[in-house]
């Protein structure tokens, strides 16, 4: 219980844990979809405070980690072109491509810039009309409204030297893919709270019913996660499988209607390959026909991409919850945040990075 006093409200954490222990009669396997939740769980040792039979399986909800290798290589090729200013969230800088990363491309002289918001990239485009400004539009449903707005504004303002390299992914098709896998052990999901802040909760009841899994919309702070786990276990023990919202302060059933309207205008559903996992039908967004002129993939016809993953990296199994990071032979040895073999070791949402940052010393003592 060494971590409990680090909670913002240890008394409330204690009560929630007591309730979870009291209601649990047998083992359950819960998946937290979002990598932000994975980090919170590992950082605060929540998995170690739970009843012994309750396993937290870490899900694929790390957008940096699942951005396909081919798309990373394409980004690197575009960024290296002299007329291009390549803008990205900082998280993408050290994600390994087949032979290098954005950080290395910048060191070699490319104009790579980190922005806080996609609108910052649009401003850079307006300030540099003689250059091509490309924004790497990755992420789940949470970042999509921001990327959509940047493209919408580019079109509205006639900023023709701006384009988006789109690699958006969606949570509900990933939940379906996980449940369809023959190796699936997941019995319930903690759904990502802020995805639902945007999208609402209405996509999830059909999934809960089809796969007989409780789905509980959960926030990101330790107490939110404990409450999400508590509601999930109560459902499992009662044999129920419903959608519940354990994060009502930031999630409304209808989501954000204005963001949803923008998403429907700018994006359309497409099949998407997830790094380490493979193609999941209907699991991504690409620009709709109305905005296709702003698609960097079409503007920069990069050819000759030959992807090559590290033969040692098992991040695909980690992302599918089939392997804990420390069970990979390369973890902490050939693969560290300084020399990452896979994206899960560098991202602030990656499960391998979480284990390395918060549990490396414990793991060394055990082994």
């Amino acid at each position: 219980m060494k971590y409990l006093d680090e909670f913002s409200n240890p008394d409330l954490a204690r009560k929630l844990l007591d309730q979870i222990h009291a209601v649990t009669t047998r083992p359950w396997a819960l998946m937290e979809v979002c990598g932000g939740q994975t980090h919170s769980i590992i950082r605060h040792g929540i998995d170690q405070l739970l009843p012994a039979g309750i396993e937290m399986i870490h899900g694929p909800g790390c957008p940096v980690c699942v951005t396909p290798l081919e798309m990373i290589d394409r980004a690197l090729a575009i960024a290296a072109q002299p007329e291009v200013i390549f803008c990205s969230f900082g998280d993408m800088l050290r994600v390994p491509g087949s032979s290098q990363d954005l950080f290395g491309v910048k060191s070699a002289g490319a104009d790579v810039r980190v922005v806080y918001s996609p609108l910052d990239a649009l401003s850079i485009a307006r300030e540099n009309p003689q250059r091509q400004v490309v924004f790497f539009g990755i992420g789940f449903e949470t970042t999509a409204p921001a990327n959509a707005m940047a493209v919408y504004q580019a079109k509205r303002l006639g900023v023709t030297n701006f384009s988006l390299l789109v690699s958006h992914v969606l949570v509900p098709p990933a939940i379906a893919a996980i449940m369809e896998s023959p190796r699936c052990r997941v019995q319930a999901f903690l759904a990502a709270g802020h995805v639902c802040s945007v999208m609402g909760t209405r996509e999830y009841p059909p999934l809960a019913a089809k796969y007989n899994v409780p789905i509980v919309v959960t926030g990101f702070e330790p107490l939110d996660i404990l409450e999400g786990i508590r509601q999930t276990v109560v459902q499992l023990e009662a044999g129920r499988h419903e959608l519940q919202n354990a994060y009502p302060r930031a999630v409304r059933d209808e989501g954000n209607p204005m963001a949803l309207a923008m998403l429907r205008d700018v994006f359309e559903v497409t099949d998407r390959t997830w790094r380490g996992i493979g193609m999941i039908p209907g699991s991504g967004w690409r620009l709709s026909a109305r905005y296709r002129d702003f698609d960097a993939e079409e503007r920069f016809a990069v050819t000759g991409i030959h992807t090559q993953e590290s033969p040692l990296c098992r991040s695909g199994e980690v992302l599918q919850g089939l392997l804990k990071p420390n069970e990979c032979a390369a973890f902490g040895k050939q693969c560290t945040p300084r020399n990452p073999l896979g994206a899960t070791m560098v991202s602030s949402e990656g499960a391998c990075a979480a284990y390395y940052a918060y549990r490396r010393l414990d793991l060394v003592q055990i082994s």
Binding site: F89, F140, S197, R252
Partner: protein
């Protein structure tokens, strides 16, 4: 990038036909787009994701979250310089 941070709206202005706000995140100030929460008012708290307010939040919840993030050093991860962080992680001098 994937983190949503609550912030307090300090001022609101229309820029190129787009509703923008200056938002305070526990001392760090950023320009934030309010197009998705157009009824948010000065003094209110919103949940902000990569420069966009995506939902309203009550003051008590927002302040508690900000205090936690501050305590855990998460605000620096979100708002600090990306290249500095990447260089530290890579173990190279810039």
């Amino acid at each position: 990038m994937c983190l949503a941070v609550p912030g307090r709206i300090l001022s609101i202005a229309e820029v190129d036909g787009t509703l923008m706000a200056e938002v305070d995140f526990g001392g760090v100030r950023k320009n934030v787009c309010l197009q998705y929460t157009p009824d948010a008012a000065v003094g209110e708290y919103v949940v902000v994701h990569v420069g966009f307010a995506i939902q309203h939040l009550d003051e008590a919840s927002a302040q508690e979250t900000l205090a936690n993030f501050e305590r855990l050093g998460i605000l620096n991860d979100e708002f600090g310089d990306g290249f500095t962080r990447a260089a530290e992680q890579a173990g190279v001098d810039q």
